[in-house]
């Protein structure tokens, strides 16, 4: 669905080659400053690359009309600095074509209880849930067709365990409909549980790409994260990761 060839952004990512297909849930992991956000911003067309080529559905990203792109891909950025006291309901209405909140979205994000409150009065995690909903609502018709590109930068930051699982459950469901979901975060266990594909970044380059369950090996991860990582398996074959300093 999206293909990056030799993509570089000065001092942020260099020579990234990636080919991501529809129907996958892709997780991007890597240390701070390894280029996760930049990679997502380039894929969203918010940031243009200095060199290389980004193609979405076979067409160069820069050739897309902004409106056409807005109906096709969504991107939830990491930080939000809100200065206006807008309510949650208005926030969602401004970005959504329909007035109703889709059932599956509400089940995962549980926004209705604070629908009439001001966005700035909510807790960090609640605000994040609203911003995720806002991003997804922007492309909801495409999501239902299974043709959307969903880019979320650290969506689980500030979310409680329950909502982390609810969100990733929903995203898996959306990916299985044919959408391409790309998320960045810092949780190896959630990655192992939910990712189809893993992109490991290190020093602004792609360190490894592949099926999450294949490349999530102790030594490999330790090199990528510069940190000690132990992996425990249970009888069912599930793996549990623990991280610590040397």
């Amino acid at each position: 669905m999206i293909e990056l060839t030799g993509v570089s952004v000065l001092n942020r990512i260099s020579d990234v080659n990636l080919s991501l297909k529809r129907g996958h849930m892709v997780h991007i992991l890597g240390n701070n400053g390894s280029g996760k956000s930049t990679l997502l911003a380039v894929m969203s067309a918010l940031l243009s690359s200095d060199s290389g080529k980004v193609e979405l559905l076979g067409k160069d990203l820069s050739e897309y009309d902004l409106i056409e792109l807005a109906n096709l891909r969504c991107f939830q950025e990491q930080g939000h600095n809100q200065v206006f006291t807008i309510t949650v309901r208005e926030t969602l209405q401004f970005f959504s074509a329909s007035a109703e909140m889709p059932e599956s979205l509400e089940q995962a994000l549980e926004i209705k209880p604070f629908m009439n409150r001001e966005l700035t009065a909510l807790s960090g995690g609640e605000q994040r849930r609203v911003h995720i909903a806002r991003a997804l609502l922007q492309v909801w018709p495409a999501i239902e067709n299974g043709s959307a590109l969903i880019l979320l930068d650290e969506p689980i930051q500030g979310l409680d365990y329950r909502h982390q699982h609810l969100l990733f459950g929903l995203l898996n469901q959306l990916a299985s409909k044919g959408n391409l979901v790309v998320v960045s975060h810092h949780d190896l266990n959630l990655c192992y549980q939910y990712a189809d594909k893993l992109v490991l970044l290190k020093d602004k380059r792609v360190y490894a790409v592949g099926l999450a369950k294949e490349i999530m090996k102790e030594e490999f991860l330790e090199q990528a994260f510069c940190c000690k990582i132990s992996c425990y398996s249970d009888e069912a074959g599930n793996r549990l990761f623990q991280t610590y300093l040397n």
Binding site: S44, L46, L66, I67, L69, A70, N71, C74, F75, E77, H80, N81, Q82, V83, F84, T85, I86, T87, E90, T91, Q93, F94, F95, T120, A121, R134, A135, Q138
Partner: protein, 310 residues
């Protein structure tokens, strides 16, 4: 409801005048004094309120107002330069050149503020600070100009700087009203992308907006409105801050409602000011005095509210 309010104000303006009698004097007073006054009040009130409502979103600062962020003083500075240095021009030429000078002043200061606020994106109040800098500088240059000007132009300028709705005649209004209406309608048609802009430029771009083009066009339209408002009525304080701010407090943030409502309420507010200052008290109170008396406390209130949110 708002339409009724306008009608009430218009009715209020007919008080004390019996236009429908055959008295030629009364009819002339109505046609050449009262009607231009009402039209000036309405168009200036609407122009200031709509442009502020847009600027507040564009500059992402709920306290933005052409007066506070320095656009008015930029326009005033250019008006002062014109009035003090170009005082040889005839009255007819004055009506053409003064708005043009005001407009260029408004455009220049708008873009100065825009550039400054982009250079300092981390500071929420950068726009306000940039505006204070521009206002102070303009004030200083105007003071210098005073030193070197003759008594006649000095009087002219002082009167003009205080803000007055009585200055404009039909010749200037016929030129100003259509431009203001077009600019306001243009801004109202941008209400939907402006709603995205509440969440910052990048979210607006992600939602399908060409942000750079949009910024340029809207700032130009806002500067046009402020420039014209200042050129026909001098500097009028706080209307722009007050109207959209109160409307958003009561009716929410949707610009599809806020922009037209700002136009109506801004026009209404200045017409009420006219009614109070002309009919109720029996003597002419400077407009800025009344709007500032009203706007001052509201400004305090909004500052305190902003503080509480943090």
């Amino acid at each position: 409801m708002l339409v009724t309010l306008i009608l009430v104000t218009l009715y209020a303006l007919f008080t004390g005048l019996d236009v429908f009698t055959k008295s030629a004097v009364q009819q002339k007073i109505f046609l050449y004094l009262r009607l231009p006054l009402v039209v000036t009040a309405a168009i200036v009130g609407a122009a200031l309120s709509v442009s502020s409502a847009c600027l507040q979103v564009l500059l992402r600062n709920p306290l933005a107002d052409p007066g506070i962020i320095g656009i008015t003083s930029g326009a005033s500075l250019f008006a002062a330069i014109f009035l003090l240095l170009g005082s040889q021009v005839s009255i007819t030429q004055l009506h053409i050149w003064l708005p043009l000078f005001c407009f260029s002043g408004a455009v220049l200061s708008t873009f100065a503020i825009y550039l400054l606020s982009r250079k300092l994106p981390e500071m929420g109040n950068a726009v306000i600070l940039a505006g204070i800098a521009i206002s102070t500088l303009s004030g200083a240059i105007i003071a210098w100009l005073y030193l070197f000007s003759d008594a006649q132009s000095m009087r002219h300028l002082t009167f003009w700087l205080m803000g007055s709705l009585h200055q404009a005649g039909w010749d200037i209004l016929l030129f100003a009203v259509p431009i203001c209406l077009v600019a306001m309608i243009y801004l109202m048609r941008q209400a939907k992308p402006l709603n995205w802009y509440y969440f910052g430029a990048s979210n607006a771009q992600l939602a399908g907006l060409d942000v750079k083009k949009f910024n340029r066009k809207l700032l130009f339209a806002c500067a046009l409105l402020v420039g014209i408002a200042v050129s026909i009525a001098g500097s009028i304080a706080f209307v722009g801050l007050l109207v959209p701010h109160l409307l958003r407090n009561f009716f929410g943030f949707d610009n599809r409602f806020i922009l037209p409502a700002s136009a109506i309420c801004g026009a209404l507010l200045l017409m009420l000011v006219v009614v109070v200052s002309d009919t109720a008290t029996g003597f002419n109170i400077p407009v800025s005095m009344l709007t500032a008396t009203l706007g001052g406390p509201v400004f305090f209130f909004s500052l305190l509210k902003l503080q509480r949110q943090r």
